[in-house]
Amino acid sequence: MTKQQANWSPYDNNGGSCVAIAGADYCVIAADTRMSTGYNILTRDYSKICKLADKCVMASSGFQADVRALQKQLAARHLIYQHQHNKQMSCPAMAQLLSNTLYYKRFFPYYSFNVLGGLDNEGKGCVFTYDAVGSYEKVGYSSQGSGSTLIMPFLDNQLKSPSPLLLPAQDAVTPLVEAEAIDLVKTVFASASERDIYTGDKLELVVVNAAGIRREYMELRKD
């Protein structure tokens, strides 16, 4: 008699793609708004982007129930930080907190693939990219989710982030201006929607700069 295996999984994949690009004085974070399960669409209008702090925004794809729980956890810890330190958490600080929060559940992970974007203490754009258990890296740009294999090579071609191991240390920010970076993100999502069935419907684009946080939407293919 063969071993009985469980056929119920606590996880599901709701699909979708996220992208973030860091600039000299801005950061663009974007994600599509389609939420799916298997070959079905649950909704065309679901936001995968969450504002964690004044200058810190997170986009997450994967299992949205775990993403929601993670966002709730981070918001609670941020509130405590504000009570104790009388200031908002900086983006690098939030980056470390997210990593620790993810690793805390190393043996029953949050099925959440995150990109964190925002401005650091000097007002420069920064992007942090994560795996599901909290391994993270500061980069100039990143993508996660079902469309990431389609999007990443094109971003490499256009932006090429320097390795953090290089000496002398090179800047991770992109030479593009804000408008160019936004155009690049729109192009990339239009291409990903063509070939990835889980990406589409609408693109939600968030720009963080010295003036604050701005939100923009663009229609994508609905098929």
């Binding site: 990443m152 090579p153 094109f154 490499d156 071609n157 990903a192 063509e194 070939r195």
Partner: protein
Amino acid sequence: MSIFEYNGSALIAMVGKNCFAIASDRRLGVQLQTIATDFQRIYKVHDRLFLGLSGLATDAQTLYQRLGFRHKLYQLREERDMKPETFANLVSAILYEKRFGPYFCQPVIAGLGDEDKPFICTMDSIGAKELAKDFVVAGTASESLYGACESMFKEGMEPEELFETVSQALLSSVDRDCLSGWGGHVYVVTSTEVKERILKGRMD
């Protein structure tokens, strides 16, 4: 690990204005070990028809030997070269013959048909044809290739611009795939000439 990922491969074919480009990576590996850095994946069937074979290398070589043989016989009988559409049908038939014990290959066919109209197509390992008007991709890096090609493709590119586009798309995509890379091999074919170029990219 899938049998299709045993050797590693990346293939693109793209349509331009009265021309086409077909390109491949050059790595031959045995799972994680690299065995050769100059492996040929694209074969010339005749001056205006090229065949790229991704997937298991031994099946790719055997398939090419069989197809080369069939084309030579056709040339003897018909006293002319095969049209790309006809060749695609031949490949499809030969693959489907092995429906329940297939060749583990995904072919990419590119040629110039009547009136120098470029023709590209790909098929799965049992011969299901996919005709495309813009580009086709195959290999372990296929998802990355789809993304890069979709973003970079423009209609009606001249041969020089087509070469640039195909090269950039190929190199960016294989850089995100551990099983393909070690440079590139690009053929740009117009009605008058065939330009073969070797690309140097990340050698890993």
